[in-house]
Symmetry: C2
DNA sequence: TCTACGCTTTGAAACGATTCACGACGAACG
DNA sequence: CGTTCGTCGTGAATCGTTTCAAAGCGTAGA
């Protein structure tokens, strides 16, 4: 059924070795022979079998990427950055999304290991570092995305979420807000926990500021809407005067609840700030203030580190790249 | 370096065949032996080499999916549907995005063929059907997503974009609009062309309706903003009183240009309707009317067809599934 | 005691591309 | 004319898993 090098070789009256050379090192083969082999390939419709290739090579030409949620534009931007850098070296990205589920995360890791990927990029949900250690000890480079290893044992590309969280709350406080609510969860997600920590630090800087936590089960628009409805339905005196959402998706949901399904005004009654500065933040009902992260660059840099680690082998020195978040002020916090 | 079945076999004092059986048909092996082999696997840290597995099996356990743009939430939803259905059969989705670039589309197809994927889902940009024919003739099932084959020679899952386009314009006309602009492009994208065709049909139904086409180079928020700015900057008498965008991303961009960067009011000055009904449509500055498509279901169904085709072999009868679009009215068309 | 049967296990063959030591050939050189 | 060198091409060995015909072994029935 499938056409193999052997048949191509027969058709072109050369050996299989020559066919392989035409495919991989054409300059080593006489031009005339190259032409003959290419003609045979064309005629027979030969397509290289990547599995056989990989088997021989020992590893594949792809890189695994596990993200928390593909539906979040932030992560698709990261993926694009990764894809672009990978393409420069003729590599491919295998994209998996864990949905913040440790089992899914693990199953993607297993899958990637079986595929003998060139390396794994992961924004690990849980603190399953031992597992990552093991992968690495098997020779699979691992780069942490959007998260740093506690002991700097892994390379990582991250943005300081504690600083970002503090930025957001400091901005709210400076705009005159006092009763702040943090909407986000679950706290098992590192990003969420860090942003909250930053928020706490910033809140503590000024006396009289209260910081309440409204925990959500996830970070989607839907969950944001639910949290927003809960806040909207409180008696006015129990409502916060500002909300900081762990990401823009949540903020969009909160916005829907407050404005569209309720009759609160943003920012008059409640100020709102999100995180990630996705494309839609700017076009929201009330343009959303947010904390911007260089998503594309994160992905690009992560693959870059990964490839360097793969090249240098086990004596590679892990490297931590840290980007700084940036405050983007729009109407939702009362410009 | 890497641990192979051979070493596991040696460690457990069995043959390689038995190790393989433990992995694939444990019920055929004596329980005690299974335990011994599993212990050896655990101890040596054995990980199956998928390349070798595939080489033997002849094809991989993944399905290729080429989408036009991963940044469009519509397509990530399709991808999620596909992933969910694939997972039911222990398969994986390989995601590639063509960016509406025929070269990229082709290179992903090549890649998938080399990987010996189980099949390919594609929303083909160009009319490169011959290429798809060829892939299929090599035994790779192909299912068209969001597009139908002219001659019904391929299975497909689609939504009738002509009907959807007509729906949108009919709604605008019924709301009292007369001078309609269609924003979208390039027309080489089938979805864009079809939606425009539907728009033309609907416009022709009522005398006195004009339909102008504002062609864009792509379907992103950015391009929408550019088109919106061009329209905004016209003298009032040359402005349309309604805009139909080929997708929600464009509509969001137009919205930004009209309202945030300009001072036109939606829907008072101009009504606006998009397409896809992505999550953000509802939370836009002015909640966006749109034409909804069952994205997740499209992906799910496409994989389902694909797997059926793979099972039934070459005598499979191509099947066309067609979903109906649905009008969602929100403020942007003046509810 | 012998045959038949079922349950386990065995191990060589196969999948297809790549590699590499080696051979063939011709040209250049002394 | 013999030697050396360079260019091309060869084909067996290899990667790791799965498959499958066959064999080993114990038990039950004849």
């Amino acid at each position: 059924m499938a056409v193999s090098v052997r048949e191509v070789a027969a058709a072109a009256s050369v050996s299989v070795g020559t066919v392989s050379n035409v495919l991989n090192r054409p300059e080593k083969v006489a031009p005339e022979t190259v032409a003959r082999v290419l003609a045979a390939i064309e005629e027979l419709g030969f397509v290289r079998n990547d599995a056989a290739r990989q088997l021989r090579a020992g590893r594949s030409r792809s890189i695994g990427l596990v993200v928390l949620d593909v539906r979040n534009p932030f992560f698709t931007d990261v993926a694009r950055g990764a894809e672009d850098r990978a393409a420069e070296d003729g590599m491919t990205i295998l994209l998996g999304n864990s949905d913040d589920n440790p089992d899914r995360e693990r199953s993607y890791l297993d899958l990637f290991e079986e595929q003998r990927v060139h390396g794994v990029l992961i924004s690990p949900r849980s603190d399953d570092l031992p597992r990552l250690e093991r992968a690495r000890s098997r020779g699979v480079p691992v780069v942490l995305v959007d998260r740093e290893a506690p002991d700097r044992s892994f390379s990582s590309v991250a943005v300081d979420d504690v600083v970002g969280g503090a930025m957001a709350v400091r901005h709210l406080v400076e705009s005159g807000r006092r009763r702040i609510a943090f909407v986000g969860g679950p706290s098992s997600i590192r990003q969420v926990a860090d942003r909250l920590e930053g928020a706490r630090l910033a809140a503590a800087e000024t006396p009289g500021i209260t910081l309440e936590v409204v925990e959500t089960a996830g970070t989607t628009v839907l969950e944001g809407r639910a949290a927003g409805e809960a806040i909207r339905d409180r008696a006015p005196e129990y409502r916060p005067d500002a909300i900081f959402c762990a990401n823009d998706l949540l903020a969009v949901g909160v916005l829907q609840a407050l404005i569209m399904l309720g009759d609160l005004r943003v920012p008059r009654d409640i100020a709102l700030i999100g995180y990630d500065d996705i494309d839609f933040a700017q076009a929201a009902v009330v343009p959303l203030s947010s904390i911007r992260q260089p998503a594309w660059l994160i992905g690009y840099t992560a693959v870059d580190l990964l490839l360097r680690e793969a090249r240098d082998g086990p004596d590679f020195e892990p490297e931590q790249v840290q980007f700084q978040p940036e405050l983007v002020v729009r109407d939702s916090t009362g410009r």
